[in-house]
């Protein structure tokens, strides 16, 4: 089943042509990694899926992106409903200046959930899902800033999961973390893939190889190659891909 379907996407920051005629299909309950050197457009492409680029003035999109068959950039589409369905985890852990509990409950509260029992259940469930529950169950009322970086990032994932999205976008989620925390997040991605469609942007080649089913290689705003991760890493079709994954540049 096709979850995300991007058709001939062009994207501009002012005059800068950031994405050039990209088409890509992402299947449900798989994980896809975007790789490529800095400035290649992979983060920009990712941020189109939850319309995060809308926040940047002077941008323009051509082409169409469908999620579950709906054109997410069509006029009638409501952006908050879309973002409820498409969760996002950012490069640096960015918890809110609130308690651990309230961080996870935030998404529910802003979406109008009033039932406190349900909120509590969901918070606990989400924290268990990201394997953070045992570490924080005694200090749910503490500030989220008191957690370590790795814990904060897992909290941010729990926060995204609490509103039960079907897609999870991860923009270099481990680039600010140590190897142990990174390992925990990667294990988590393996688990989450069963229930969610995951798109992850990463600079770490091994990470892409470890966590993704499919990989897309971006270069200078173009999708150079997209296919099975194993194939991309062992036998890429394009020389540019080969050069990048073997570390000859980038």
């Amino acid at each position: 089943m096709i979850k995300i379907d991007a058709q001939n996407v062009d994207f501009y920051y002012g005059d800068f042509h950031a994405l050039k005629n990209i088409s890509m299909q992402i299947e449900a309950n798989t994980s896809v990694a975007f790789i490529g050197p800095s400035g290649c457009g992979k983060s920009t492409f990712l941020r189109l899926f939850n319309r995060m680029n809308d926040l940047i003035p002077d941008t323009r999109l051509e082409g169409k992106i469908f999620i579950d068959g709906r054109d997410i950039y069509s006029k009638g589409e409501k952006v908050d409903t879309l973002r409820k369905n498409v969760g996002m985890v950012f490069q640096k852990p960015n918890p809110f200046p609130k308690t651990i509990f309230e961080n996870v409950a935030y998404g529910l509260r802003v979406n109008g959930v009033k039932d406190n029992e349900y909120i509590e259940e969901t918070v606990i469930k989400s924290l268990k899902q990201v394997v953070l529950w045992d570490e924080v169950k005694d200090k749910l009322k503490d500030s989220a800033f008191a957690l370590s970086g790795g814990q904060q990032q897992r909290l941010c994932i729990a926060r995204a999961l609490a509103i039960s999205p079907s897609i999870l976008l991860m923009d270099e989620p481990t680039s600010a973390l140590d190897p142990i925390s990174t390992g925990k997040i990667e294990d988590l991605i393996h688990e989450l893939k069963k229930e969610y469609t995951i798109v992850i942007v990463t600079h770490n080649m091994q990470q892409a190889a470890r966590v993704s089913d499919k990989t897309g290689y971006f270069y200078l705003g173009e999708l150079v190659e997209y296919g099975e991760t194993r194939k991309i890493f062992t036998n890429p079709e394009k020389e540019s891909t080969q050069n990048y994954i073997t570390g000859r540049f980038g």
Binding site: D80, F90, K92, N94, P97, K98, R159, A160
Partner: protein
Amino acid sequence: MRKFFEKIVEGGLLISGSVSSLTILLIVFFLFKEAGGLFNTPATEEGYVLAVNKSNDVGKLSPEMIMDIFDGNITNWKDISGMDQDILIFRFSDLTNYYTEEELGDEFQYVPQKISELVAKEPGIIAFFPKQYLLENGFQGKVLPEEKITLGEFFGGTKWYPTSTPAPIFGLIPLLLGTLLVSIGAIVLSLPFGIAVAIYMAEIANKRTRGLLKPIIELLAGIPSVVYGFFGLAVIVPLIQKTFDLPVGETAFAGSVVLAIMALPTIITVAEDAMRTTPRAMKEASLALGATQWQTIYKVIIPYSISGITSAIVLGIGRAIGETMAVLMVTGNAAVIPTSFFEPVRTIPATIAAELGEAPAGGAHYEALFLLGAVLFLITLILSISVEYISSKRKI
């Protein structure tokens, strides 16, 4: 050579730092030293004495009683639990009503004698005259003991008559209430508006609107306060008088409106700067969870920048409490306890500014004004300490 220069620069920085701290300490010390003098000053005018007939059993008279007697509000000693006897007020200038110039002598050498006689003769008299005319030996009256102004009289006093003779009255309450009323009014008016503008500029306005608004608001902060006062007097005061159909437009409310306008630029710029420090990642996180822009503003941006917003509020209040000129011009300056917003009031800074010029240096009035300054200083000090405390607690 380079080492040497660095040493000199270092020394220069150290000196300028210590000089400025010392200056502030000296100002505070000076303020409190002058202010404290008030409680060592006699309640009646210095160099003068009050005397009554020997048969008068009255012992102590508070400044307020003395004022009521000399104003003619108290006419019988029994009103202040004395004997039943009408009060006869005698001021030094009344002397010629009782005695001819010959009787007083060419060089007033018989004056002490005559005053003594007069006080002995009139049972209900209260005489107020310079100390130098007090008969040194055998004064046939009773000199009232010199009272000192007490803390209670100053801090609990409900009247401010600094130039009343023989006993001026320094009561803090009407001025304090006037200050608080005007300042609280100003904050109530300016805060919602200021925060709203700050939110608009920080989060909603596009770059061009913001680029237009920001310099205008900063310009507002640079207008001299006397111009605000002038504007208040010429525009706001008549407007208030007409709108609320008042006998006078110079009221606490007029002061609050002018102060609110003056405090706005401070509140807006500081609060806006605070909100703009909210990391983009945090805003994006909120929006990515399906929150609307407004939810993001009041659930993430305001809590995140709350300490900056509180300092905006404190700076605004500080400006309101300490502002002198504009308030002096529009509040009507009646040192009475206010009962509503639409009455003339007088604030502490306005009192200091208006009266310091006519208060002789070192006198009771002068010291009372310094004490007012000290009170003002303490109010703002307490305010900033408590806000510091609150905002340090609120951080989560």
